[in-house]
């Protein structure tokens, strides 16, 4: 138990100031266990440790990756069965059964990941619930191996190389030592660039992909890790209960884990431990209620989700922030990362040929070919629904093209996943500047460096350099949620430039900006182009675009209907017809102001 104290302080230090209350609570629980707890109290504490382990794992897939898995109870049950079968039926000891119990659910997670991890949130939740039901049916029906509804009795006590943690205090300490180890691993895993990647991935997966973050891989990792933790917890549960029955696979286990994670604080390692400690104690306070404690879990879960979704740890932090205002984190010294080495190539920076995409019979983009040279600014205009945003989505693989080719820096990247194209040198901005919901502007820009600098402090130093370039250095410690539109654009542009891209694709960057802010933005885009970046801008705002662009393409119904210098485009009859209908004599937008 005492192992938790240094861990807790270092973790909370990273997460924005220590929470002395949590450390104190941990110390009190430890003191209680060592000094006063009776055998029954120690047993409850041991069970709490087992759950804590399962919930720490669950925080990865559910809390950090943001996918509502309903298979954590199943993974836990499989761990228990693995220990029961390999230990009790085949006679192996803890040194074998424990790793096997971790391995079995992990392998299952990797196997089912292929169909389920691609699914949208609700499909994913139900698919994982379905897998749990199949596992439960299997445990009941496959009597020769699982013992059917009776389960497996006589699971041996834990014995590791001749050492046997006795019931009571030694067992509680053994379990909590594993919890501490698991917590440290989970904390280390969630640190560094992943700390920046996870919130963005939960809130806006497309933006995360466009920053070169491989979300699919992160989902797979967190899913497998969560299964491993659940398997370890299941193994310990089997040793403590001494029997394994289908109950370990039933939904109440999942309910308990989910409730602990939500009540403790979603995504927080400390929350997992706090939730596990609290919710294993809760039924003890309502003894004689039989399974009524689950009813209570339901009520508490509903109340927390509605009234305090930040959970116990979040509530403590809020209280602390209220009474002890946070000292602002010191800014790093801005560092220019210098140019990134890129392999030499000939031809345009970005080149697409015959790109096409249909949505249910409507040809949104129809055989579009274009190129952008180094340092060139290409404007893309066209009426609403002419396929401009779809074109950018195709060029970044957020939509899969039906046909056509894409070359970045002379390398063919057709059909490659978004994060690969991003790493190949394409950065993009979104119509709605998509900054992470929590965290400050510096964090947001540092996320752009997450895939380039593997070490967070140099990512922050480089990020501040690019914030300075876009004139937003004074916003570094401003929370993204309170930034006004003009500042959001600057931060987003800084993030895109921080990736030091070869090509920069911007979707209506001037929308919602004042004229002064537009002029400022135009200046920054010009200087980015001057440094060699190929820029593509989709824009409706002609007074902004025409003086800025070197060349303009006009789309209508998914096709290029005109291409030329801004001057030529302004006078092009096809462009006027597309905007105003064939008979109109005057252009829609009067041109440069």
């Amino acid at each position: 138990m005492r192992d938790r104290v240094p861990w807790a302080s270092s973790w909370t230090g990273i997460a924005g100031g220590a929470t002395p209350a949590l450390v104190l609570a941990g110390a009190l629980v430890a003191a209680h266990a060592v000094l006063f707890a009776d055998p029954y109290g120690l047993r409850v504490l041991t069970v709490a440790g087992v759950y804590a382990l399962a919930v720490i794992g669950y925080q990865m897939i559910f809390g950090k990756a943001g996918a509502l898995s309903l298979a954590q109870g199943t993974f836990h049950g499989l761990g228990a069965y693995a220990t029961g079968i390999v230990g009790s039926q085949l006679g192996y000891g803890f040194a074998v059964t424990f790793p096997v119990s971790i391995l079995v659910p992990t392998v299952l997670a990797l196997v089912i990941a292929a169909p389920v991890l691609r699914l949208e949130s609700h499909y994913f939740a139900l698919a994982t619930l379905g897998i749990g039901q199949v596992a439960l049916l299997g445990a009941v029906e496959w009597q020769g191996v699982t013992g059917g509804s009776n389960g497996i009795a006589g699971v041996a006590a834990i014995e590791l190389f001749g050492w046997r943690p006795g019931r009571g205090l030694p067992l509680a300490l053994f379990v909590w030592a594993l919890v501490a180890a698991g917590a440290v691993i989970a904390w280390r895993y969630g640190r560094g660039w992943r700390r920046l990647a996870f919130p963005l991935m939960r809130d806006n997966p497309a933006a995360a992909r466009a920053l070169g973050i491989d979300i699919d891989r992160l989902r797979l990792e967190t899913f497998a890790l969560s299964a491993a933790y659940a398997g370890a917890a299941g193994a310990l549960a089997a040793h403590i209960q001494r029997v394994v029955s289908p109950e370990v696979l039933e939904f109440p286990v999942m309910v308990t884990i989910l409730t602990m994670a939500v009540i403790g604080g979603r995504g927080r390692v400390g929350g997992a431990i706090a939730g596990a400690l609290l919710l294993t104690q809760l039924p003890e306070w309502f003894r004689g209620w039989e399974r009524g404690y689950l009813l209570l879990y339901g009520v508490v879960l509903l109340a927390v989700v509605v009234a305090a979704p930040w959970g116990l740890v979040g509530a403590l932090e809020r209280a602390r922030r209220r009474w002890l205002p946070e000292r602002p984190r010191p800014l790093p010294v801005p560092v220019d990362p210098g140019p990134r080495p890129t392999p030499p190539f000939r031809g345009p920076m970005l080149y697409v040929a015959g790109l096409s995409k249909s949505f249910g019979g409507v040809r949104a983009v129809d055989g579009v070919s274009l190129w952008i040279d180094r340092g060139e600014i290409l404007g893309v205009i066209g009426p609403n629904g002419s396929g401009k945003t779809t074109l950018i989505n195709l060029m970044t693989s957020l939509e899969k093209p039906d046909g056509g080719k894409l070359y970045v820096r002379g390398v063919e990247m057709t059909g490659m996943p978004t994060h690969r194209i991003a790493r190949g040198g394409v950065a993009r901005g979104f119509q709605m500047a998509s900054l992470p919901p929590d965290g400050d502007a510096l964090d947001a820009v540092a996320a752009g460096r997450a895939m380039i600098d593997k070490d967070p402090s140099s990512a922050a130093a480089h990020a501040l350099h690019f914030l300075t370039l876009t004139g937003a250095a004074d916003l570094a410690r401003t929370p993204c949620s309170v930034l006004p539109p003009g500042s959001r654009r600057r931060v987003e542009l800084a993030r895109a430039l921080a990736r030091q891209p070869g090509a920069l694709l911007l979707d209506e960057p001037a929308a919602g900006l004042t004229e002064a802010e537009q002029a400022d933005l135009a200046g920054q885009i010009r200087s980015a182009a001057a440094s060699g970046v190929a820029v593509l801008i989709v824009e409706h705002n002609m007074p902004f675009l025409l003086p800025l662009a070197d060349r303009i393409i006009c789309l209508d119904e998914g096709r290029i209907i005109a291409e030329g210098t801004p001057d030529a485009i302004r006078r092009d009859p096809a462009v006027m017809a597309a905007y105003l209908g064939p008979s109109h004599p005057e252009p829609a937008h009067p041109g440069p102001a």
Binding site: L68, P115, Y123, L126, V134
Partner: protein
Amino acid sequence: MIVAQLLVNGLALGAAYALVALGFVLVLNATGAVNFAQGDLVMAGGFLAVALAGSLPVPGIVLLPLVMGLMALLGLAVSLLAYLPLRNRPPVSVFISTIAVGIILQNGVILLFGPEPKAAPALFGATTVSLGGLVIPEQSIAVIAVAGLLILGQHWLFARTQLGRRLRATAQDPEMARACGIPVTAMIALTFAVGAALAGAAGLLLSNQFFVTPSSGAGLILKAYIAVTIGGWGSVAGAVTGALLIAAFEVVASATVSYSAATAALYLAVLVILTFRPQGLFGEAAGARA
């Protein structure tokens, strides 16, 4: 002969499943939210019928309006407590809050009735009818008829009445509906009530022949979900079709192998479908709001 027997059984089961899926898809369309408690609402409806039958010794058909009315009230409560406070939060909040509602229903029922399976009274009687040499339980025919009428009634309510137009407008575009003066919040609460009433009816219909246990909810929500997935996310007609398909599969597979194997095969089949067509067999009808 056996085929005809299976057909009747499958149709009765499918008709009841269709009510479950219908309630689920109506709420989905109105709110974009997935109501995980739908299966537990069915279970609660079944136990409500059991409880009412204990004090009112009348046939199920008399209890039906009572069960549906009380369940509609429960549906209102669910929308007030678990949906409306969370409507502007990420969808995962509503998943969790409706899971919490399911937990409360399931364990509340265990506290009140115990964990054993119970049976609700038959709609009319427990006799069988002979039809051209075929022996059919009267209950099966009654279930098909009652469920069919309820599905038609729901269709009539939504397609032909002023209220239905408002409900549909709310489902299609809540902002626009509000701009047109439709009380959107009340419409959403009403949709939850209709969904819960249909779940209650399904509970009463299912829990005579197939019994009801407090833990039935998980299986039922999965089937509703699968029906909606097969039928096209958000499609009302597709949900009914999907429910009939699932029931047919279950009846045939149970007759040839075992019920457990049938259920396992069903879930695995859906995983395979989702692997190759993540948008469902017939495409998505609802937008990406969920």
